[in-house]
């Protein structure tokens, strides 16, 4: 029976193809020639709004025909009251029907605008107390006033049917239509958490009151106040649950790693990014124009992410883009101009200090000095900079590269068609000469009411990115590893000597990468007219990405060797070459949704069932030639010797079925259950389908009568959820269930005949499957003191099993082949999140908000592959992922006597060497003395502190963000002097010498002989906790009075803002977030930006 019904529903879906968003205030009506009373009943049923009227009033009214879908109540009422002798006013969820004053004829309206109407009133809270500072705005205009101390206001509106929007912090927004009335008494209802706001969730929207999972949102205003061009850098610190670290700052390639609630797997722990309902690349989010975004939701627990099934295990970041609404076209133009500097500069020693220190190191090794006094003097006085250079390689970089951004957007629409379009342009220079990133973004989102019950949405979006750089990819490595004595930056006659300064010359070639991304989406929503609340939606998306890389190396500037007699030898130019790579990727997603929503008395039920499938295909082709005789960067102009090419392609597919039922009772109890059945081609036939269920509930306990007496508590909602999710992202590895043989490497035979080689791939595991995550979340949302204080708390506990691993640690290498991946690793991850917010209006002119959030996520390895024989100190089981192991450094040896009495250390030690702790007290330092010495490189605790202050026309906002319980190794050129022939750092000067016994670094040495410094020890594992002033913005809004004179301009805002303003950390030389332990990463940038925003 049920089956038959379902079949009928699907057949309907086939015929009609539909949906209805229809949550909260939005309603859908389809009625013909019915009385107003009937319409009112239906509106009441759908929205809970009540109607106040006398029967006599309604008798005057005509019958109406109405056909709207998913529209605000005002729209429905406007239709009903069109051409009626009566009018309506909405006061606090009550629609009051009044007699209409004679409205002027429409023609007259066009020719002469109606006279302005003076409206006055008083705003009070539910207790009848006047509200001071509530703002009254005429909807759709910039006409605004605020209430006085006694709650009264007066405002002059432009037309009789003007709508006044009344807002006050901590209260629900209220709207009234002026109509015939000119005197209002407005009662504001407290709205602790803006409970009727719509939150975007997976495959739908929910009133935040009905959300029983853990979902947080990031305000688009906060995102906009950050001038960082990469959106991933705008989330950190903004909301609880996001752990983000920016590892490098290269323009166009500066995204943060984002983890939701930390890391719970040895595999890929990054979340999925869903833009307008379609799973997309993280770069699609990172490189989005912030002005395109309507909302950002972070789905953190099982209940909210379960609809993403096998891909939801790491959480989901949901982005919806702006859509148009009916009304006059609104145009916004935004311009930004900024300069950038490094957040930290690694400081190297000059030649004199370097050579002196080098001699000291030689002396420490009992060797003769390499640099004579005469050499040192020349390094010091720079009297012969060609032969005795002292090069500051940082000096070859751009000092203050520019960044500019322009955004233009327009939105509006008629009753039938609505649009939101935008275009933006970003141009960012890097600190490496010629390094530049350009980005163009466009979007056009169009909604059309095809029939009364059909809405067609057509979204086109795209972006074009272009990066330009110098040819060498390792310039930071080169700078980190080139001594100041090796080459001069330039010889005194202007010749180049080679080295970093030669390598950054843009004249000798380029490395370009162009990305073209097209994102298209077509959606058809069909409301089913004869089954109330039922709608069907069909979605198709088409994504195409093209990535073209081109590296052209054609040295034209020569470099020279200076001979001892002072003459110069021109060196042969390095080999010219061109390599090009073309990659294209196409992804098509098709979905059918069935949505159902119904109220039964105080019960409300929504349901969702959907089918989704995605097919992706990709293709790569590359070519290479070398030895170009002429400076033309085309493949065809290269000689045919040594030309090379390559390519590959692939395809992937996945399918899923999603269901969700949300039931709420009298806005007090909510129960939701959802599931996803997922089919992933990553696994063997018969092992492809997984089922991921979840259940959640919430209880608004403050609705209970026994809680009403607690006056300071306005709202308290308890939530809990539990569910099972998956993670099938196993790196780039695919087809783990198939034994493969791969082309890899080559061998040469005969007369230079290079033959392909085939090797056995890693062993297959036919039983391989996805990671399974069982997630529990318990939390509450609360609001106190009339909404002035809000708080959200969550405790979460994720138990993850079936994490893919290889038994490398327990299976001897004698096996001789890559081990199969097996689902055996288990990791638990748990923690808490706390958000506390406070907002207040001190006076009419002064308002502020502050909010803090903290996330603590700690994981623990429950099972991991390790040999049974392992020293228990080195066991990873029971410890957090990424725990670092090494010797425990317990200071530096001060005297030979100390050395002699100490347990036998590594190497032949002298005073000034690092002393390691003999953990097992066996009298010698060896592998058995290695112990856990620190935490992983992803912080366990992150926190953010947001503040905002509005004073008259000024706005100030800031974000402090920090991270702790995090370590970072520093090794090699990043901290050790003379490593692999590199130079030394200024910080190396604080080395141990007999006269500097409290040094921060050991005595200097060069060869690894007799050196114990380079062992992994707590000496080099640094605490990379930090607190950053991430963001500050000061803005000035041009006063309304001034703007009104211009007629055209609706808003004008000037601002200055800055990203990465200041950092407090113990890490020296580097930004504490930096990703390279050796100083090879592109430094993070600070942006000082100024701009304006103008609205027409």
């Amino acid at each position: 029976m049920l089956m038959m019904k379902l079949t009928a529903i699907f057949l309907l879906a086939l015929c009609l193809n539909v949906s209805a968003k229809g949550f909260s205030q939005n309603i859908s009506l389809s009625m013909e020639n019915v009385s107003l009373e009937k319409v009112f009943k239906e509106i009441k049923r759908q929205t809970g709004y009540t109607f106040a009227y006398t029967k006599s009033l309604l008798q005057k009214a005509k019958q109406v025909t109405i056909n709207i879908s998913n529209a605000p109540i005002e729209k429905a009422l406007d239709v009903c009251f069109h051409d009626q002798p009566i009018a309506y006013t909405i006061i606090n969820k009550t629609v009051v029907i009044v007699n209409k004053k004679e409205a002027p004829a429409e023609k007259e309206q066009v020719s002469t605008p109606p006279p302005p109407i003076d409206v006055s009133g008083k705003v009070t809270n539910q207790k009848g107390e006047p509200l001071n500072g509530a703002s009254i705005t005429e909807k759709g205009t910039s006409n605004t006033t605020v209430t006085k101390e006694d709650g009264t206001f007066t405002i002059t509106v432009s037309r009789p049917n003007a709508v006044l929007v009344i807002t006050f912090i901590g209260y629900e927004k209220s709207e009234i239509t002026v109509g015939s009335q000119t005197e209002f008494s407005i009662v504001m209802k407290t709205s602790p958490l803006a409970m009727n706001e719509v939150v975007v969730i997976g495959y739908g929207n929910q009133r935040s009151r009905d959300v029983s999972g853990s979902v947080s949102t990031v305000s688009t205003k906060q995102i906009a106040s950050n001038p960082a061009p990469n959106l991933t850098n705008s989330l950190m610190g903004r909301t609880a649950g996001i752990i983000a670290t920016q590892r490098a700052g290269e323009p166009g390639n500066d995204a943060s790693n984002i983890f939701i609630r930390g890391v719970g797997t040895t595999g890929d722990a990054s979340p999925v990014f869903v833009i307008d309902g379609i799973v997309r690349y993280s770069s699609d989010f990172a490189q989005l124009n912030p002005n395109e975004i309507q909302s950002v939701s972070i789905l953190k627990d099982a209940a909210s992410a379960a609809v993403f099934g096998v891909r939801g295990g790491n959480g989901v970041i949901l982005i919806t883009t702006k859509r148009g609404s009916a009304g006059k076209m609104q145009i916004t133009y935004n311009a930004n101009f900024g300069i950038q500097t490094r957040t930290r500069t690694i400081e190297f020693l000059n030649s004199y200090d370097y050579a002196t220190l080098y001699n000291e190191a030689l002396a420490n090794e009992g060797k003769a000095p390499l640099y004579s006094q005469a050499d040192l003097q020349k390094y010091k006085d720079q009297s012969d900079p060609d032969a005795y250079p002292s090069s500051d390689w940082n000096s070859i970089m751009n000092k203050n590269p520019m960044i500019t951004q322009h955004d233009l957007s327009a939105s509006g629409g008629s009753d039938k068609i609505r649009y939101a379009t935008s275009f933006s342009y970003l141009n960012q220079d890097g600190i490496v000469p010629s390094n530049n990133f350009k980005r163009y973004n466009f979007r056009s989102n169009i909604d059309a009411d095809v029939t009364r019950s059909t809405v067609l949405s057509f979204d086109l979006a795209g972006r074009s990115e272009a990066t330009n750089n110098i040819v060498p990819t390792n310039i930071w490595q080169l700078i980190a590893s080139t001594t100041p004595t090796k080459f001069p930056v330039r010889f005194s006659n202007g010749f180049y000597a080679g080295g970093p300064s030669y390598n950054v010359l843009p004249d000798n070639g380029y490395r370009k990468k162009k990305t073209g991304a097209f994102r298209g989406r077509l959606q058809l929503v069909q409301r089913i007219p004869f089954i109330e609340g039922l709608s069907v939606k069909a979605v198709g998306s088409f994504d195409k990405t093209l990535i073209d890389s081109k590296t052209w190396s054609y040295p034209v500037i020569p470099f020279y060797t200076r001979l001892p007699d002072g003459t110069f030898r021109k060196e042969p130019l390095p080999k010219s070459s061109l390599s090009q790579d073309h990659f294209d990727d196409q992804s098509i997603t098709l979905e059918t949704h069935i949505n159902y929503e119904k109220r039964f008395g105080s019960n409300r039920i929504t349901g969702l069932l959907l089918y989704t499938q995605t097919k992706q295909v990709w293709n790569d082709l590359n070519g290479y030639r070398e030895g170009y005789a002429i400076n033309i960067d085309e493949i065809n102009f290269g000689p045919s010797a040594n030309r090379n090419n390559g390519g590959y392609s692939g395809a992937s597919g996945r399918r899923g079925v999603v269901g969700r039922i949300n039931f709420s009772h009298s806005d007090k109890y909510t129960l939701e259950t959802s599931f996803r059945a997922d089919g992933s081609e990553q696994f063997a036939k018969g092992k492809r389908w997984g089922f991921f269920p979840s259940v959640s509930g919430s209880y608004v306990i403050s609705q209970e009568s026994f809680m009403k007496n607690i006056t300071f508590l306005n709202f308290l909602k308890l939530r809990t959820s539990y569910g099972i999710l998956g993670n099938d992202r196993i790196g780039a590895a695919r087809f783990l269930y198939l034994q493969s043989y791969n082309p890899s490497g080559s061998a040469v035979f005969g007369n230079g005949d290079v033959q392909q080689a085939i090797v056995e791939g890693s062993l297959a595991n036919p039983d391989v499957t996805w990671e399974t995550v069982k997630k529990l979340d318990v939390g509450f949302d609360a609001s106190f003191f009339s909404g002035k204080l809000t708080t959200t708390f969550d405790y979460f506990y994720d138990k993850r099993s079936d994490i893919l691993g290889r038994r490398n640690a327990s299976v001897p290498a004698l096996l001789g082949v890559g081990l199969p991946v097996e689902n055996f690793t288990k990791v638990d991850n748990r923690g808490i999140e706390l958000t506390i917010g406070h907002q207040n209006a001190v006076s009419k002119n002064l308002r502020y908000t502050i909010s803090g959030n903290v996330t603590y996520a700690r994981n623990k390895v429950v099972f991991i592959d390790e040999p049974a024989t392992t020293n228990p100190n080195l066991m990873r089981t029971g410890r957090p992922l990424g725990t670092e192991f090494g010797f425990q450094a317990i200071g530096l040896f001060q005297t030979q006597d100390e050395v002699d009495k100490a347990p036998t250390q590594i190497g032949n030690n002298r005073p000034g060497d690092i002393r390691y702790k003999d953990v097992n007290n066996d009298g010698k330092i060896d592998d058995n003395d290695r112990v856990p010495i620190g935490k992983a490189n992803t912080p366990e605790i992150v926190y953010g502190f947001n503040g905002g202050l509005n004073f008259k026309n000024f706005e100030l906002s800031f974000l402090l963000q920090g991270a702790t319980n995090v370590n970072q190794w520093y090794r090699g050129e990043g901290i050790w002097p003379f490593f692999v022939g590199a130079g030394a750092l200024k910080t190396n000067l604080d080395r141990w010498t007999p006269s500097n016994p409290n040094a921060s670094e050991p005595r200097v040495l060069i060869s690894i002989d007799n050196m114990n410094h380079h062992d992994l020890s707590s000496f080099w594992l640094k605490n990379s906790s930090y607190l950053k002033l991430r963001n500050v913005e000061l803005a000035f809004n041009l006063p309304k009075a001034l703007l009104e004179k211009t007629k055209a301009i609706q808003g004008l805002r000037f601002y200055v803002n800055c990203n990465n303003v200041y950092t407090w950390t113990k890490i020296k030389n580097f930004d504490p977030e930096n990703g390279s332990d050796r100083g090879w990463a592109y430094p993070q940038l600070r942006i000082f930006n100024t701009g304006f925003n103008i609205q027409f």
């Binding site: 390499l370 060196e571 080999k575 692939g650 395809a651 079925v657 492809r688 087809f735 493969s740 791969n742």
Partner: protein
């Protein structure tokens, strides 16, 4: 119910969009299946190519990500030093390391990976229907497996007489993770027997040199390797017999000693790993050996030469004068002109002050163009010329010289040494050594007649040291001869050069002190592998 829902929904979708029914049945496009590899002789050949291509050699051991293995093993013997201060050479020179951080530790894994590749091939090659192909490929694979075990044995094994096995774990078939992988060492002799048996099979199946592409195993290579393995095992008689099977079978000494390593596929080469720019170059790096082994004073756009491996004074002193006498007894030796009248092989092997290298006369004295006052300067007063292709300025071409594993001169030396130990001095030994000394570019006097067995042994060993210098023989020779302890516990010598007016003064000086405890005669198995396979134990005091 679930199934019904699914089928309805997907049916809907298919109806609407016409989607693929077998969406989830994707197949890899960039890999082959096992069946294809072992039914197509070309694919099987490429599988065997994989073993050749991955075989470690002096030109492509780039270990530990920091280039810590970028040097020839001779750099850590008494013959040489390594100028690059960061390499693991320092650890080997001072013996200052633990099994957990052993230099060259990757070798263990790399060699057993090759063992598996060979075992997989041997199990599957039978499936080929092309008989000729099957025969050759099987022969090649036996040879390659033997070659791998021979290297494993000389690195990790030790000839011994005790009850503890001191060979390496022997695996002769592809294993799966479910098999018992607790595999103890076999005895040294068991491993030798295994290698000899593989090489005997290989010799039966393989064609002669010239009947197969250069770079592939041949009958001659199998016997030549046998002679080396038996020599190391001190089975003198057998070693001499194996060498005899190579002598006078189509191999000959290349007339020019200097260019043996620059002339591809010449008649002296018995088995080599071949390289070809730009597809396969040294260390997989651009530029490769020639850059790594150039003095610091030779510059390119990004960087200068890396210093590389350099000969010591101890080594230079092993060259006889042109009269066939050592320098301390020869009247031809003049300490003020220490580079005159030396065995001509010296000039092909060593760059010294005043010699011409890449068209430049070397100035290796303080103040000279080739002392850069940078750490990579040679401390011995010499640089290495052997293998170096001087035709190209550094950083303009990636090095692709072939690495010669076995050449005819070695077989003659193997024969001489084995025969002397087995039977004492005889004419055939003199013939073998004198043939090397009579190479037209070498042209040294014959060995004096009437040497005793011990005297002859010393001459053979010195001939081996000089002839095969820096070809990664010395590292193993001083171990198997058990003389490393006496050579490498103490200072090594370099040459201090000063320019006084237009003349030079040369002073022998200790540039470095080395250390060689007994355990260094063998390499430790990496600690992590001992942890996983405690059945194989460390030996020699590791």
């Amino acid at each position: 119910m679930k199934k019904i829902l699914y089928s309805i929904l997907s049916a809907t979708c298919i109806f609407l969009f016409g989607c693929e029914k077998n969406l989830l049945d994707q197949v890899p496009k960039d890999a082959l299946s096992e069946v294809v590899v072992w039914s197509d002789p070309q694919a099987a050949k490429q599988f065997v190519n994989g073993i050749y291509g991955a075989m470690p050699s002096g030109f492509d051991r780039n270990y530990q990500g920091w280039g810590k293995g970028l040097y020839l093993l001779d750099g850590v013997t008494d013959d040489g030093d390594v100028c690059m201060p960061w390499t693991s050479a320092n650890q080997l020179q001072s013996a200052n390391f633990l099994p957990s951080s052993s230099p060259w530790a990757e070798l263990w894994t790399d060699y057993y990976r090759l063992v598996r590749q060979a075992n997989v091939a041997l199990v599957n090659l039978d499936k080929l229907t092309d008989e000729a192909m099957k025969k050759t490929l099987t022969g090649e694979t036996y040879f390659l497996r033997a070659f791998v075990y021979h290297d494993l044995l000389r690195w990790y094994g030790m000839k011994s007489t005790g009850s503890e096995p001191t060979g390496v774990p022997l695996i002769d078939k592809p294993l799966s993770p479910d098999d018992n992988l607790q595999i103890p060492r076999s005895t040294y002799d068991q491993v030798v027997d295994f290698i000899i048996s593989d090489l005997t099979k290989a010799a039966e199946l393989l064609p002669e040199k010239g009947q197969i592409e250069a770079g592939r195993a041949t009958k001659g290579a199998a016997y030549a390797l046998q002679s080396r393995v038996l020599l190391y095992a001190e089975r003198w008689q057998q070693a001499a017999e194996a060498a005899k099977k190579v002598i006078n079978t189509g191999y000959s000494l290349f007339p020019d000693y200097r260019t043996i390593f620059l002339t591809k596929n010449n008649d002296e080469i018995i088995y080599a790993k071949k390289f070809q720019d730009p597809d396969k170059v040294h260390f997989g790096l651009n530029n490769g050996f020639d850059v790594i082994n150039s003095p610091r004073s030779f510059k390119g756009a990004n960087d200068a030469g890396w210093g590389g491996n350099v000969p010591t004074q101890n080594f230079v002193e092993s060259y006889e004068m042109t009269d066939g006498k050592p320098r301390n007894t020869s009247p031809l030796f003049d300490p003020t002109k220490p580079f005159d009248n030396l065995d001509p092989r010296f000039y092909s092997t060593v760059i010294y002050n005043g010699s011409t290298f890449r068209g430049h006369v070397m100035q290796m004295y303080p103040g000279g163009a080739d002392v850069t006052t940078q750490p990579e300067d040679s401390k011995t007063g010499y640089n290495l010329r052997k293998f170096h292709d001087e035709r190209y300025t550094i950083y303009t071409k990636s090095s692709d010289q072939d690495w010669v594993y076995i050449r005819y001169a070695e077989v003659l030396l193997n024969y001489a040494e084995a025969q002397n130990e087995a039977a004492g001095p005889d004419a055939s030994i003199y013939d073998a050594i004198n043939a090397i000394r009579k190479r037209s570019s070498t042209n040294m006097p014959d060995l004096p007649a009437g040497l005793s067995k011990d005297e002859l042994r010393n001459r053979i060993r010195n001939e081996r040291r000089v002839e095969l210098a820096f070809e990664e023989h010395r590292f193993f020779d001083i171990r198997r001869w058990r003389i490393a302890e006496s050579l490498l516990n103490g200072p090594l010598y370099g040459l201090k050069i000063e320019k006084i007016g237009n003349n030079f003064s040369y002073t022998r000086y200790p540039f470095e002190t080395r250390s060689f405890p007994f355990k260094m005669y063998v390499f430790p198995i990496p600690q992590s592998e001992i942890d996983k396979n405690p059945a194989a134990k460390q030996i020699a005091g590791w």
